[in-house]
């Protein structure tokens, strides 16, 4: 309605055709699907945290105040392994640092005012970002973000409490397969993002980087290292575009491709087929 749907002032802003409309009901359905599914997995966190020796209050405080699943799991894991509080917090923080990039991306998409931002910031996580970024315009992005955030925050905290209370009754939670819930959630969020060769190359390279560095670097750091896949792939792609554009001058200036280049090249050829 009175929302400013166009805040950019770049010269080409006038040109793009309006994105296809998406009914609100479809947005709400998607948002609820993600919010409920992931919100329920707070149960796994509650059980894990209680199993790691944290008290009920401590477990619930993590879900209420940290509210970024991977960081929470990393923190209780590190504390259970006997890590000192600052090392444990550093690992959790490294994992949570990715939310800054989601926020960076979302600030333009959601366009919230300064007064709303401190509240909205708390809900910026993988899932709310994925839902919001999948929407065609600002209004539906806000709707998706709000419904996902509200559902997920409520359920995540509720099921954390239930999980922490019921941890003793469940026994070995791994036997119930609950540790597979988190990676399955990440796969489901990632799949729709793999639209073309550049994205697939970044994902592939990130997987290689994290698996290679996992045994070598402290908790939380490998995931951050794997983030380098994004600039690396963009660098290779930019080089190829320049080489294609300005001929041999640029290609001669660029030495042989770096090791990461191979995954990118392989994926790019896959894209040509698709």
């Amino acid at each position: 309605m009175a929302e400013q749907t166009e805040i950019r002032t770049s010269p080409r802003a006038a040109a793009p055709p309006p994105p296809p409309a998406k009914p609100d009901s479809a947005v709400v359905r998607d948002a609820l699907g993600v919010g409920v599914a992931v919100g329920l997995s707070g149960f796994a966190f509650g059980v894990t945290s209680a199993g790691a020796g944290l008290g009920l209050l401590q477990t619930c405080a993590l879900s209420l105040l940290v509210f970024t699943g991977a960081s929470q799991f990393a923190l209780v894991g590190a504390l259970a392994a006997g890590g000192n509080p600052f090392t444990a917090a550093a690992g959790a923080f490294f994992l949570g640092a990715r939310n800054a990039f989601y926020g960076l991306r979302l600030s333009a998409v959601l366009g919230y005012r300064a007064r709303i931002r401190p509240l909205a910031a708390h809900w910026i996580i993988d899932e709310t970002s994925a839902v919001a970024l999948a929407q065609p315009d600002r209004r539906t992005a806000r709707l998706g973000f709000t419904v996902t955030g509200l559902t997920l925050y409520t359920l995540w905290n509720l099921t954390t409490l239930i999980g922490a209370l019921g941890a003793g009754a469940l026994g070995d939670t791994d036997a119930w397969g609950l540790d597979a819930a988190a990676p399955a959630v990440f796969v489901a969020l990632l799949a729709p993002m793999l639209k073309d060769g550049v994205e697939r190359a970044a994902a592939g390279l990130a997987v290689v980087l994290v698996l290679v560095t996992l045994p070598l670097l402290p908790t939380g750091v490998p995931v951050l290292v794997s983030a380098l896949a994004a600039p690396a792939v963009l660098l290779v792609q930019g080089r190829r575009e320049r080489a294609a554009g300005s001929g041999a001058v640029r290609a001669a200036a660029a030495p042989s491709a770096r090791p990461e280049g191979t995954a990118e090249l392989r994926d790019a050829t896959g894209e040509d087929r698709a």
Partner: protein, 102 residues
């Protein structure tokens, strides 16, 4: 007490990065490179998190029932299963494989 310190530091740090990202000046986002990077970083991070949580056990790499569960989830996704079902399949297959003692 040390646990509470860890919780407080983590909560403050995690909130701060969220807020800083959301409040970055609009000018930063105008640059095409930043836009492309911001779009690609979540892809890289989600892929890495998936791999870490599937094959990582602390600092060790493992191939256990979880991998079967996540593979089943990917298959369910390819068959266009709804979100909750995808997670359910992963949990059920992982539990099933463990029950079989593999």
């Amino acid at each position: 007490m040390t646990v509470w310190i860890a919780i407080a530091v983590t909560a403050a740090g995690c909130y701060l990065v969220k807020y800083l990202g959301l409040s970055a000046p609009a000018g930063v986002l105008e640059r095409p490179l930043v836009k492309r990077l911001a779009a690609l970083l979540p892809v890289a991070l989600l892929a890495a998190l998936t791999a870490q949580q599937t094959f990582g056990d602390g600092p060790h790499l493992v191939l256990d029932a979880k991998a079967a569960g996540v593979a089943a989830a990917a298959l369910a996704l390819a068959l266009r299963a709804p979100f909750l079902l995808v997670i359910g399949v992963a949990v059920a297959v992982t539990a099933g494989v463990r029950a079989l003692g593999m």
